[in-house]
Symmetry: C2
Subunit: 431 residues, 2 copies
């Protein structure tokens, strides 16, 4: 029996989950790996805080850095979170001390991944992170290993459970964004400060890491165009449904015709017939398109104590089984720099405008759209008691293929001509 | 740059796909692995047959066994198929000669896997088989590696693209089983002799291998209860739809309350709300339930030249990266023998009976069901012009929880009392 000695730093929900799995399933793990896993130390913010798992039997470290560099540890599991600060120091010092590192920290890798992966490669240790993206879903392993022979053309992901929970609540419950957010907070699917999730940053962190593996480029979080879900109203979800769509926050990375890799996080209209449209509530899902297969779809729990800890354990199994895959699927020196902005992307769009309830409005809009070179597939005047009182009428439009710049120009012109009272909601339609 | 020398035996669709991928993506593969893959020999039934890929540049072997044991080969890829015969000899002799082996042959592994995996383990070579089950879907790697820390409770799979294509054709096109089969054959989704697929054997081969990995037991194909889709009629699909279900051929392996592992392949009624019900046409999908996550669903192309070859390439990447995972997820000596039959399984059932169109039939059926301890959730008399001419009426029933034995007993009694003209269709409802 081989011994593997693990230090766990960060004893929040996922950290406790890892302790629990190692304890509960120790005999299964030993049977599968012929390896005895010992937790040689733990570190957290507060030793005496109530926790759901017993940690008395483990050596406690007030100073996480001293555990990270401890000579008795073979592997450090970092579950603190945060794009720098203590988490960064822990990972950096563990690598420098020659330990393998497992982390669930997407913010850290989105910001400092290029440096940390290079450091790990130089020192010859593994830095694994399956738990950082989409919980139990084995997306990192699938991309790096299973479909490694493919040229990936695109990846579409529902990467943030909080946003998906809110959008599904609005859709199924007919409630407002604010009510849905409140409910998600009450049930533990949203943080008390939800900014990071609902503004799309969390999904963008994950997307930047996925893009790197899919397309063989360095991680470049700054190039992700990010739009959150705060502006989505119930009226949008209802109108989308009338047109046969649902609204989901998608992370999309794709290789465009000019070989530019675009990375974007944005609310999107998805056909109710599409696979991703069926991904509801807090679930995550990722669709991969490769040149040797049409579509591979993985879906499952994207967060939560044990689903995420299960992914951490998968990385532990990988270290025990000594897999030699490079951290991002290819040696770092082979990764390209991501290219600057490419061609302008063409899409169909959904628009919702609030316009004065006077005759001629529809004609004026269609004229303005035409003048800006935009064909309209559908234009519908909606009924809204609330807006009628204000003498306003909501109008929704589905366009043919066009680009965001043309849409913006058209909306500007419409506002000039029609004195719109609010900025319109413009949402991309994905095919 | 490291050299890896590969022999490819079997140059049908998948074999040609592997040759194509190695050629087309050679520079991507070299960049990712720092390894040069050379095809040092190929073998197939007929050298001069027309093929979609050029094989003139490779050394041809009339005798596959001499390629399998060739001193210049590091890895043998077996893509002949068949549960024994040449495929068996190729794999056995390659292993004995110290080569790693990659195969897509589920029939071979279902029948001879225990012997071949033991041989490979003894000699210290890898025997990998991701392509044998569900094409591109990385189910083997996910089970063996990603969710390895979990105790798996159940796996539900749509494992045969031919059957799924036929059932979907019937459902969407409103056509008979025979027409759907013919169409599938014309489009290349069914073999000219489809027996193996439509009678459930192919799905059962795959299920027996999955069960072994999920539950840590030796492969035991003989314990799989197998029922195919030949008896499914369009009327069943329509009635199922009325009740809110679709019909799919499922492979189900689960750990029951008495710890017995049941393995069964059978047509099943699935709620239209379930994830697997949305898996249509030739697609495959697998749902895994673990103790640390609720459900993980993987879906994608389950067959086809390049999707399957892509999975073969994944195994090649694994050999290059020297992963040490045991073939079936744990050392073979740790695998248990599968247990004998366990408790009787309880399910809800769908029944369709053809009974004489006389008054009192419904009352007689409900009485007979009650006498056999079966509660009825729904009983519906259907309209059928064709049957009316024969003075028969189709009746469909949805039962509460019961078991197959009770159902069979009740049907026997119904037939005795009501002179039914045909054996009824009985289909399990999955929750």
């Amino acid at each position: 029996m081989i011994d593997i000695r693990v230090g766990i730093i960060g004893l929040g929900s996922v950290g406790q989950g890892v302790v629990q799995i190692i304890n509960d399933n120790i005999s299964l793990i030993e049977k599968k790996t012929n390896t005895k896993i010992s937790i040689i130390g733990v570190s957290g913010k507060n030793k005496n805080k109530h926790r759901d798992v017993q940690i008395d039997r483990y050596q406690w470290y007030d100073d996480p850095i001293s555990l990270a560099g401890n000579e008795n540890a073979d592997i450090i599991i970092e579950l603190i979170g945060g794009e720098d600060g203590v988490a960064f120091e822990v990972v950096e010092s563990a690598i420098k001390a020659g330990k393998h590192v497992i982390t669930a920290n997407k913010a850290l890798l989105a910001k400092n991944g290029n440096y940390l992966f290079e450091l790990a490669e130089k020192i010859g240790v593994k830095l694994l992170f399956e738990a950082a993206i989409a919980g139990t879903i084995p997306i990192i392993k699938t991309l790096k290993e299973s479909v490694a022979s493919n040229t990936i053309s695109a990846i579409y992901g529902i990467l943030n459970g909080t946003c998906n929970y809110i959008l599904t609540s609005m859709e199924k419950g007919g409630i407002s964004f604010e009510s849905a957010l409140k409910r998600a907070q009450e049930l533990g699917f949203a943080e008390s400060d939800p900014t990071f999730d609902i503004e799309g940053y969390d999904a963008a962190h994950k997307l930047s890491i996925l893009s790197s593996i899919c397309f063989g480029q360095k991680i470049n979080f700054d190039q992700v165009k990010i739009e959150g879900i705060k502006s989505i109203e119930l009226d949008d979800i209802r109108a989308a449904s009338d047109y046969g769509y649902v609204i989901r926050l998608l992370g999309i990375a794709k290789r465009n015709e000019d070989d530019h890799i675009s990375q974007v996080v944005r609310p999107s209209l998805l056909s109710k017939e599409s696979d991703l449209s069926g991904v509801e509530w807090e679930k995550n899902a990722i669709s991969i398109r490769g040149n040797y297969f049409n579509e591979l779809l993985l879906s499952g729990p994207g967060a939560g104590r044990l689903p995420t800890a299960s992914a951490v354990m998968g990385d532990l199994f990988d270290i025990i089984n000594n897999t030699k895959y490079p951290s991002l699927g290819m040696p770092l020196k082979a990764l390209s720099n991501s290219s600057k902005d490419g061609n302008i992307e063409e899409n169909r769009f959904y628009l919702r405008l609030l316009l004065p309830d006077v005759s001629g409005t529809m004609a004026s809009i269609t004229n303005t759209m035409a003048k800006n070179g935009i064909s309209i597939d559908d234009i519908t005047q909606r009924i809204s008691k609330k807006m009628k009182d204000k003498n306003l009428v909501p109008i929704t439009i589905i366009t043919s293929m066009t680009n965001y710049e043309s849409i913006n120009k058209a909306v500007e012109d419409i506002n000039k001509n029609n004195y719109s009272s609010a900025s319109p909601n413009i949402i991309t339609i994905e095919n």
